[in-house]
Amino acid sequence: MSDVGISSIAGYLPRLRLSKKTVAQANSWIAPNLMGKGKGTRSMANWDEDSVTMSVEAIRRVLGKDDDRSHVDSLFFASTTMPFVDRLNSGIIRAALTLEESTECIDISSTLKSGTTALIQALDKVKSGGSDYSIVSASDKRKARSASSQELDFGDGAVAIAVDNENLIAKYINSSSLSIDFIDHFRQPNEEFDYNWEERWIRDEGYLKIVPKAIVELFSKANISGSDIDYFILPSVFPRVDQMIAKKCGINPENVVDNLALSTGDTGSAHSLLMFASILEKANPGEKVLISSFGGGSDAILFEITDNIKNYKPEQTIESLLNNGIEENNYMKYLTFNDLVKWEKGMRGEQDRKTALTTLYRHNDAIMGLVGGKCTKTGTIQYPASPISVSPNSPDLNTQEPYKFAEKKAKILSWSADYLSFSVNPPNHYGVVDFEEGGRIMVDFTDIEKGDIDSGMDVKMVFRVKIVDEIRGFTRYFWKAIPV
């Protein structure tokens, strides 16, 4: 049987990093106990990002710009903050990425270890021959009450992994998985926030007892010991709990991987795998990586780095992801983006945003996948496709074949920054962008500030939330442009 493992991995972090000091100071009058957590930053999603959009961006980095994605035959999406309780969230991702309809899409949720659980499932699927190439993506955008510990501990982010049977950079050795109904926190449907139990109990009875149990079982299966581990990954918001578990399991405490608490915060379901991505840039062939996670039990997965790591050149390293953030010192912006304050949206914010689901399905490739048309007679590229081509002087009927815009570069033709129309992040920037091979779309711009764009500037497309229909609880997605 051939080896299975990982051939590619990529992270996605939102552009903004909220200063924890700003948050702690703003809340110090009511929560002075949190001042100690006021160090570093946490990643902060834009208002138009959620776990699905962040996953789409992470997966795009794994798949690259090739329009042919037919090799992806399964997709696992893990999150505790899926936008829909009943609508296949991985199906949204499939549509955005224009994966084949036959790509098996699976949502794995309800626990912070869903990321590692999804990875184990994908590894087993490829190992058993049930899939040749599987994508695993984990993502979370968790809400927390203002002036809570979680607000400072959490971060928003996503990760994507290609589970493969060739070109492996990390070979899968073995895994263990425990399911234990230990309730450190919980959240029922329609609840915005977690309810948390006492931290000391969670640490002593939860992490320190349950995580080692899974690790010991894995060591036994793989016939190794703690001293064989070169990288130990365990996300935890409790200081030094990773060190204590390493010690307990015979792992050199120096091999504990930094949990990114001071840069991204804890990205929930994504975090174990995001930390995994962060070490691959410096790992050497033969080194062993132990990935652990905690939540409703514990997972432990063992990988061995292969020789291919020497030639592994990711599109964007985690280090550059971490360094490319922009510090945000406007706490009110964070509260507004996350709908944590009642803010005046004006009459234009009242507009009914009902989405015609019939239209959405009829134009599913165009709306979700940004697929337009290319005229087979004149070569004219257009968005959206139409029965009669837009070619001047050649209005050919039914000559268009699907043409994918999402990975094509574009330039800004015209733009404005609009203070009148409703926007969660005014001014509302939008304009016409022309694509490198032809075709144009009038789009929203996102991840920019006033003065950031002008005509002629290079942009690329990103998948984002277009609007949220608050009356019906529906999130509408579309593509927007951001500066390259």
Binding site: M347, L413, W415, S416, A417, D418, L420, S421, N428
Partner: protein
């Protein structure tokens, strides 16, 4: 080959309500105000009307759908009333319907009334428009100023105009319209403004500030048309006839094809060429006496000067700054204050433009009367630069 509309139809009478924030007036009041003036001007009775066209853009407020709001408000004698809608060019559409009915011989006398009651929406600007079920899912959730403002970025990039120079030129456009509007008792805004005020106004959509945007108003306007022969038989002198009526509609090229550069109105150029040919105008810069254009935003007016072939391409900034379009310039533009100051009750605007040209040609424009104008052009645009309808009408003295 169509012979065109030139001199086949005469304007028998026109009327226009006071435009503005008409908190006191209902849609019916506005229609009646314009209708009574037009009927008195025409000197006819209701039973002489053969057919009617009613233009009204926003149907979920104001008067509602269909032809009945007009027929009921004016108590018309059960004649045909057709409601038309073509974005902000709806008023010109009503006029076209009435003019073509007369030219076809289907009606001896026809009336067009345009009305909009915008100040019942609760919005400061225009209320959001319905664009069907697909466009909201793929288009930006923008506004009219944001869409028109994009002309500025594309125009600057194409012609190498600095942001400051363009801002100053479009400011001059608004200063001029305010100066004109101050002499118009029916205008919504009747106050002059300085260039400094315009430049320092709150930003609405880069680079358009508050004074770069037209007034959002209530109002109605009406036109009664007939054949020149009937006009003469009714004892009318100084007859004003229709010289050209053209409508060009986007087919998606601007929005979807890379050949459009975003800095001009494709439809305006198409409609203008056809209108000049229909009116037998070969040198518009010399032959057009005056214009009412669709200055929904100052930058719209600026680029329209080129699209109507009055200013050469890339030269509008210079012409505007030279005062070419001022009241004392070679081709006065927006002599009644334009959409900017007379106001923009959408369904009425095309007819309001014709009303001013008609008054000027008859020498009845009071304090703002120009000396001996012979040809008046109206340019009524609906939609937005990347997707629009453009209606152009040219009127003048019969047989001129």
């Amino acid at each position: 080959m169509a012979t065109g509309i030139r001199d086949k139809v005469a304007i028998l009478g026109m009327g226009c309500s006071k435009f503005g924030e008409r908190w006191d007036a209902s849609p019916e009041d506005l229609m009646v105000e314009s209708y009574v003036e037009a009927m008195e001007d025409a000197g006819i009775e209701p039973n002489q009307l053969d057919a009617a066209w009613f233009s009204h853009h926003i149907d979920d407020i104001g008067a509602g759908k269909g032809g009945t709001p007009m027929s009921i408000a004016l108590r018309l004698p059960n004649i045909a009333v057709t409601r038309v809608e073509n974005y902000c060019a709806s008023g010109s559409e009503a006029f076209r319907g009435a003019v073509y009915a007369v030219a076809a011989g289907a009606a001896d006398i026809a009336i067009a009334v345009g009305m909009e009651k915008l100040k019942d929406t609760g919005f400061g600007g225009l209320s959001p428009t319905n664009y069907g079920t697909l466009t909201p899912q793929i288009g930006p959730s923008g506004s009219a100023p944001g869409n028109f403002a994009q002309l500025a970025s594309a125009y600057r990039a194409k012609h190498g105009v600095s942001a400051e120079d363009l801002k100053r030129a479009i400011a001059h456009v608004s200063v001029k319209s305010h100066a004109n509007g101050a002499k118009n008792p029916k205008a919504h805004l009747q106050k002059e403004v300085t260039e400094e005020q315009v430049l320092n106004a709150p930003m609405i959509a880069e680079p358009l500030g508050l004074f770069d945007c037209c007034g959002v108003s209530d109002g109605a306007a009406a036109a009664i048309v007939t054949t020149p022969e009937i006009a003469k038989s009714l004892g009318k002198g100084n007859i004003i006839s229709v010289k050209a009526l053209q409508l060009a509609v986007s087919n998606g090229l601007e929005n979807q094809h890379n050949s459009w550069d975003g800095s001009y109105f494709h439809t305006v150029r198409v409609a203008a060429k056809k209108a000049y040919a229909e009116a037998n105008i070969t040198k518009p810069r010399e032959q057009v006496s005056m214009m009412e254009v669709h200055d929904c935003f100052s930058v719209t007016e600026l680029v329209t000067m080129e699209d109507l072939f009055i200013s050469e391409e890339g030269n509008a900034v210079k012409d505007v700054m030279d005062g070419f379009y001022d009241a004392d310039g070679k081709v006065p533009c927006q002599i009644d204050g334009g959409l900017k100051c007379f106001g923009h009750p959408i369904g009425a605007s095309g007819l309001r433009m014709l009303y001013e040209m008609y008054l000027q040609l008859q020498g009845r424009a009071g304090e703002r009367q120009l000396s001996n104008p012979s040809i008046g052009l109206t340019h009524n645009l609906g939609g937005q630069p990347a997707n629009n309808v453009c209606s152009i009408a040219i009127i003048g003295a019969l047989d001129s």
